[in-house]
Subunit: 419 residues, 2 copies
Amino acid sequence: MTDEMLHLGENAREAARGLGQSSGAARNAALAAMAEALQQGETEILRANEADLAAAAEDGMSLSLQDRLRLTPARILGMIQGIRDIRSEADPLGLVLGGGVRPNGLRVERVSTPLGVVAVIYEARPNVTADAAALCVKSGNAVILRGGKEAIRSNTAIAGALRNAVVSAGLPADCIQLVADTSRESARALMGMHGYIDVLIPRGGAGLIRAVVEQSTVPVIETGAGNCHVYMDAAADVAMACDIIENAKTSRPSVCNAIETVLIHQAVAREALPRIADRLEAYPVELRCDPAALAILAGRSYAVPAAEEDWGTEYGELILAVRIVRDMNEALEHIRRWSTGHSECIVTGDYAAAQRFLREVDAAAVYVNASTRFTDGGEFGYGAEIGISTQKLHARGPLGLRHLTSEKYLVTGEGQVRT
Amino acid sequence: MTDEMLHLGENAREAARGLGQSSGAARNAALAAMAEALQQGETEILRANEADLAAAAEDGMSLSLQDRLRLTPARILGMIQGIRDIRSEADPLGLVLGGGVRPNGLRVERVSTPLGVVAVIYEARPNVTADAAALCVKSGNAVILRGGKEAIRSNTAIAGALRNAVVSAGLPADCIQLVADTSRESARALMGMHGYIDVLIPRGGAGLIRAVVEQSTVPVIETGAGNCHVYMDAAADVAMACDIIENAKTSRPSVCNAIETVLIHQAVAREALPRIADRLEAYPVELRCDPAALAILAGRSYAVPAAEEDWGTEYGELILAVRIVRDMNEALEHIRRWSTGHSECIVTGDYAAAQRFLREVDAAAVYVNASTRFTDGGEFGYGAEIGISTQKLHARGPLGLRHLTSEKYLVTGEGQVRT
């Protein structure tokens, strides 16, 4: 680890101490100042973003990635509103989560505390800088932000404004630190900072997440891998299935709660698949089909044969894998084999099939008769989130304020000893 | 990873599927059979343990380690009672933890689920085999047990009886698997089984825990490192401080919630320290003293100078480090620097000092006027535990049934799509 990274870690620990003991009112004042600072700094942030975009265009960045990188006055307003929404959530710290008085008179309370220092490694979306900083300030955690090199000018402008804001509200500037070095080495250094960082959250593609899981000695929350399925059961309402599949695939193909594969029960495939295909043709969505599906869609130019790797691919674009299954067992088997445990859906009118799917599918969110696109902290009624966890430890599903806390036991007595 | 370990992982995943969907009644029936099996198998288990003990004595194992390894009819009865207690706890699975109906009519429920596959790496205490297996069966998790080589005959006898018991109750035998290979390689293999194992719990010394944290790609819950302190404040009741220090150091020195260092406010040191030393002399406890403490205890043969490394040592035996501090700031600074975040105690009659200690000390359990020895699932009123977590993610403090669960969202609709 370089001196620079070590210094960053020490600063974060020191800032976390002050922040962790600040009142909810002080943290809310900082959040108000952070929202205000983005408003005041809009021109400067947009100018920095333009420079990032110019460099990205010169480097030949794809248009869809450029779109993620782009900030507009409307998007900055969205960031500001996001901070205000987080400010208005209940304080996640100091909650008494349980406890009681023991037979020996000892009083035991379990209370929520900050985690300490949170590090986030992300790619080209500069809004993550504001979102992650606001969630961490609200939950009393110092944050170390390591964004992608494409967004470094935008991130520097945003983080600079936010740091000034927390200082103006009387909190340590190092509550929010942006890593200036956007090389792989800085990401790797963060992964090794056990003792300085309490949790590392990678937000990005499968490659980043795999690298973090393999290399990190810091506890990790895996987010965002979404190979999601819709299983259309024999007892499905075909019109409903068409609506759900269209919405789950096309409303925002790049996000993790979009679907990548549709499994269709053989009993309804001949009727349903052409109607699904008609609906998706408009976009158009390319259909990667198993032989049975391909036979049904013979002659349609956007229906092509699927290869084995299609079942394991998170396309993130207008491509959908299609497989006809013999029965529900085969659908469950396919999902077990290929799902990343994010969001899985059955469309059915059959009570027993619905209950079985809810029980047997092992994923963060399991749906009956609704689009997987709802997997989101706000849509679930749990407020802002920093990602969707696909692991089972600590947090599963939308990763909100309460997941950015730990707990401790407060034990108060009058001299009790253990016999 | 060897074929054997891969096979073990596959078996565990397969067993976890069946176990995870079993009813609470089926899991309780298995636990009843497990308790019964230990009773039936007592003679065989004791015979296996005698063989372990004979080999250990031949290898020159220390008497205190031999004591940990030793099983007696009373200790087997303790294991049986432990299983029965776990059986009588509430089912931790299928609990509705939250949720509601969203404005669009979507019903969102957050429910508790098993983690899947839990691996436990431990050392020479064969009772861990029964405790960990019972906690995992109750919480619907398949368990992979990797005990120390010294206890392999005892563990094999215990695990064999427990496996037969779960089969007799209709659950898969591989709910409980003992790793026959007790080499370092098998421990290392478990650490790399991401995708097969959902959580790895090391129970043992600092070296084992460090190795697991550094090498594991599987999420880890760190347990058991306990460098715990009692801070005797200026406003402490001296008699109470003596009671607490004596209890926290001597009632069971080898466990993680025993203390290793006493910090004494300079204002009371001259009065209190000789009384504390008198109390500890009876055992006797060796006192590793800073210069100020040594000056007060001059001439006592069991008071010796402390070296820097004493502040960082978890003795696990009748040795106590002693330091006189200028004020509470210095005590908090010492604890921040050296604590492993397990259990920390202040003895004081001063309200503000007590409040400050509770607020500022960052540990799993923070005490006012009570012995640190109470950090234990049963003592806290939370039931059986598999260890004390000293990390902040997922679980902190006593690691009970509820920490052996994850959650999932069940989302049920009537065709809702996201606009």
